[in-house]
Symmetry: C2
Subunit: 260 residues, 2 copies
Amino acid sequence: MYLIHVIGTAGSGKTSIVKVMLDWLEDHEMSAIAVNLDPAVEVIPYSPHFDIRKYVNYVSLLEEGLGPNGAFIKSVDLMLKYVDKIKESIEEAASNYVLIDTPGQMELFAFRKSTFELVKRLNELGKAVMLYILDPSLFVSEGKIDAFSFVSAILLGVSVKIRFKLPMIFAINKVDLLDDYVVELISSWLGDLSTIPFGSEEYAPLVQSLVNAIEEAGGLGETLFVSALAEIGIDDLYAAIQRIVAGGEDYATEEPSARL
Amino acid sequence: MYLIHVIGTAGSGKTSIVKVMLDWLEDHEMSAIAVNLDPAVEVIPYSPHFDIRKYVNYVSLLEEGLGPNGAFIKSVDLMLKYVDKIKESIEEAASNYVLIDTPGQMELFAFRKSTFELVKRLNELGKAVMLYILDPSLFVSEGKIDAFSFVSAILLGVSVKIRFKLPMIFAINKVDLLDDYVVELISSWLGDLSTIPFGSEEYAPLVQSLVNAIEEAGGLGETLFVSALAEIGIDDLYAAIQRIVAGGEDYATEEPSARL
């Protein structure tokens, strides 16, 4: 069983990616389920096999009198209480691919003690990978790329990767909205972060040193462009997941086992 | 005029720090104000000179039918519309110290295009510094420090620092809850991140390479321990701010000018 934790900042498109991935896997006759772990999501465009809102609901906590921020923290922390139920439900499905949709705010999933424990417990079920969805609006504006903001978004992912000690796929979403030359430039940067030009600004040496460090340690690993909306790059995404969890073997070799 | 952007993950204690800093500055007869930029905060324990909730309110957006996540994004993005009002209000106060309290979820403040622009515009008013409040519960559990999670929390701060290109103070909050030996160990790590032991785990080379990179580029800069609740370390915090914004001159030299 492969667990794919889909993370990313608010608005990056996690839920849409889960939807298109689920459709893609089903279209290719693979056994896949999606699990919703966002207690505050309103509309889910796919049918979740497990939905945390059945047990923990942000809006109910608000109505009970918690403030908006407090209710967010509380709802996310409460999820750990139901980890056995979540695991049982996933096991019962006996699917090969488990797509895990995470809270709208990545921080609540990545930087809380409770969710750290939750992820660790879920990963007992199988091989896990993190799929980090990057929103290009964080570093591309009017056709220009801000190199510092780009590295900042990459570092945010790396900080999550080393916290969970899991392999990570860096997927830049909404590629359909980017100019070709922007995609080409980002693509070459992703290939070797140390080639990014930072000019002579005050923090250039720090940023240069950090990207060199990532390259020295083997680079970012799997990086790609996708568009959930335009359904671009989903087969590449599948291939990247396979390279990590199944050592590159494609679905032909692992299906039709009911359980990996 | 000095702007101090107080950031940190949900629950790290930003608002409490703003309160004790404001009290401390006023107790020392310094001219200071606090600005609330969290549209979703329920209770503010200090009197904000400017309160964004007068213009943008998370709960109202919820009531208008936006989902919980959507309302968060919308409320934070809407703040930019009022940047001139915020700036006017700050200018009118003509205070030396402007403490800026930011949204509960740091991600909304640090990794949105709108807030990036907002911070840039606010910083036209004076010298700015980021005060990053770290919650030790992210990396200390039952008296043990998780070295990977510790570096992860540091990297999260660094990713914000390079995005905004601002000097950053790393303040570990809730020190009153930590054992002495934990404080000592973290303290020595902060002094030289490259001395942290990471063992021989898979991601150890990456983490080692990253902390070496930070040290090569001059280290983290100002780091300290505080407790908002127990009011520990607030004078150290003031001193750290002074070293960055005023080159080390203490308040005696800069007061009582009404405006710096």
